[in-house]
Amino acid sequence: MKKLVIFLAVFLLMLPLQSVVEGHSGRTDSSGGHNCSQKSISKGLCTGYHYHNGGGSTSSNSSSSSTSNSNDKDCSDFATYDEVVQYWNSKGYSATYDPENLDGWGNGNVDDGIPCEAPTGYDKTQINNSAEQIQYNKEQQDIQIGNNQGYSQGKSDGYKEATANSSITEGSDAFKQGYANGYNNGYYEGKSKLESEKVKATNDGFALGQKQDEIVIPHEYISHESLKSTFEEAFNRAVTERIEVKKKEYSELGYKDGKNDLYSLPTNVDTVYVTAYEGGYDKGQKDLKEMYIQQGYEAAFTIVEYAEPDLDKEKYLEWYKEGFLSNTIVDEIEEIAFTQGEEGEVMSIPSNYEKGETIFTYYYELGFQDHEKQVKQTQQTVAGGLGVVVLAWLGRRFYVVRKMIA
């Protein structure tokens, strides 16, 4: 038992010494470097010959702290390069602070700030304090600044309805890119803001136009030409609509008076309303006249001889007579009916003349009377002629007898 305890103690004492020599896969040579093993190559951790822990330096002071620290990591200690980066970042290492010498060679000397060897195409911006990350951060900063400036300018242009121009000549590419994005967003925002304000200007202008004829543009719209014109348009539209409504009312009143033949021109109103009233009145009078003309026209179908109706005014009688005389269809009916009767046909009213049945019947009978007269006259003529012939014949016979018996 005692021997075993001594053995273990000796073994434990030997362990740290072995760690110094074999803290990583593959032994280093006298220069502190070695060739990359197949395993490390396949992991992408290194390629070819490289140094560790200050290898390659002849200085006796080099890597004194790291080589003496048994917890120092070596590139081959990581399964993937992401693990290397994660370790590097967690330790806060950089090109100037690399106590474990994960970045190239030298005992803490400046290298490129990239631990071990990054695989081709690896995104080095993830490596803290790398030149790529510094550059990336700078670009991001430029993009942000450009975005802010672009947004401000774009919003202003959009609100002013200026032509969109998202390009800028000064600054880095990142700045220009951020500026363009910010400008477009800002321009859209500015336009949207203007549109919403236009809606409000329209509503305000329309509301004012509905109340009064004199325009008073609010201060908030005077400074912006587009908003001002929007307000004015809405105001004028409301005024026009209001006037149109009133004109319509006067026109309808005039029409009603015209139909009733009672002229009552409104007083103390604008000329436009007087004109509207007169227009409506004329139309009403026209319709009234048309009504009497139509009455006369229809009467012509039922009255053979014109007879004055019992109407209030002389002009109504004139209109009535005008309509009566304008009915030329009646003339056609008269002619057709008379001819039909004159020829002794059975009375048959064409369907398109049924309206004038009274007239048709009257003139048919007139024609038929003529027909009967003609027939009677013909009969008398025939009878008379026959009598003459008979008398002549009898005379001849008498003459013959006288001659025979003489």
Partner: protein, 61 residues
């Protein structure tokens, strides 16, 4: 010919009525003789005219 014969008969009948009216004071046989003679002459004259017409037609054809 039938029509002509009928017409002649009607004419004779009417003439007979006139004869009877005009010859009441005369002798019936004497009047009848005159009438028959007159009618026979007329008939003969008509037949001659017809014959003459037929001959004319024959010569033309």
């Amino acid at each position: 010919m039938i029509g002509l014969g009928l017409y002649q008969t009607i004419c004779y009948k009417v003439e007979d009525v006139f004869i009877s009216m005009l010859s009441k004071k005369h002798k019936r046989e004497q009047i009848k003789g005159k009438v028959d003679l007159y009618r026979a002459e007329k008939l003969k004259l008509r037949e001659m005219k017809v014959t003459k017409k037929v001959k004319h037609k024959a010569v033309r054809s």
